[in-house]
Amino acid sequence: MNPQQLSSDSFKSAIPAVWPICLGYFPIGLALGVLAQQAAIPWWAMALMSVLVFAGSAQFICVAMIVAGSSLWAMIGTTFIVNLRHVLMSSALAVYLHGVRRSFLALFSYGITDESFAVNMARFRAGNWTLFQALIVNHLANSVWILATVSGVLIGQLVPAGAFGIDYALVGMFICLLVFQLHGRLYVITALIAATVAVLWAWLIPGDSYIVGAAVCAATCGYLLQKRRGKS
């Protein structure tokens, strides 16, 4: 890998990929900060948490558990379960990051979230997406997240909730990223299976296990259908 790739050009060209994530993170980060402030969590603890953890849903659950007076080990255990889904994403990224230096990957992994994963995978698959652009996407999204969560603690209550439909930003982003992933009939079928299994699973089983459960089921169906089609 060549250090010149880390130029202002790669920075600028990463912006169109990352601003939708930032737009989506801001209201969620603010909302998290407001909850933390109501739970008497100081701003510096929020900043520390967003730097060390950087995982939206786990952070929301953690704040709720602090309010409920849970033990520290229970919070760490819950975080582990909630974030296990990233094993799948990290593995899928390995296909495109094959043979890349481990020091780079160690830095890059820190920023693997649902959103950065989906954006970077779509770009990697489309081609001409460099490692540094992917890294910039991860770290800009993280910076905005830290800023938003800390702002939420300090000034969050001054911001009207749900202004300008901003609560829909991440949903809109997931919809478009899903469209980017529909490369053919088998992918459409896989998406429909994932959606159906996830809805039933989430309805029947409390918690976040539906994400990993439905994704593994659906990917396996897609793969088996592909193999069957290959043979016939």
């Binding site: 939708p20 603890a45 953690c62 975080t79 990233h86 949903v171 997931f174 990223l177 899903l178």
Partner: protein
Amino acid sequence: MSAAEYLFLFIGMGLVTYLPRALPLLYLSHKKMPQGLIDWLGYIPVAVLGALLAPILFIDTTIAAITFGKLEFLVAIPTLIFAVKTRSLGGTVLVGMFFYWLAGIFL
């Protein structure tokens, strides 16, 4: 909680968040992956996105029921059409927000 407790908690949470993100990538990126695994992983992004999105659109958490009448789902229809037609990520986000805001006013 004291500062030391916060530090302990967040370091612990950070570790269990970071390791599942880092270990598969660090391991698999330096191994020859079997073609079957590569093919299977190729379906992971679409499967993860379908699994993340669908419950938001179809599960009403206030009454714990599956429904086709959620505002999130109704807004998703024009948003999806826009995404298919334009393939613009930023545009789709803005259009989705606009319809959601509009729907919140009129519905």
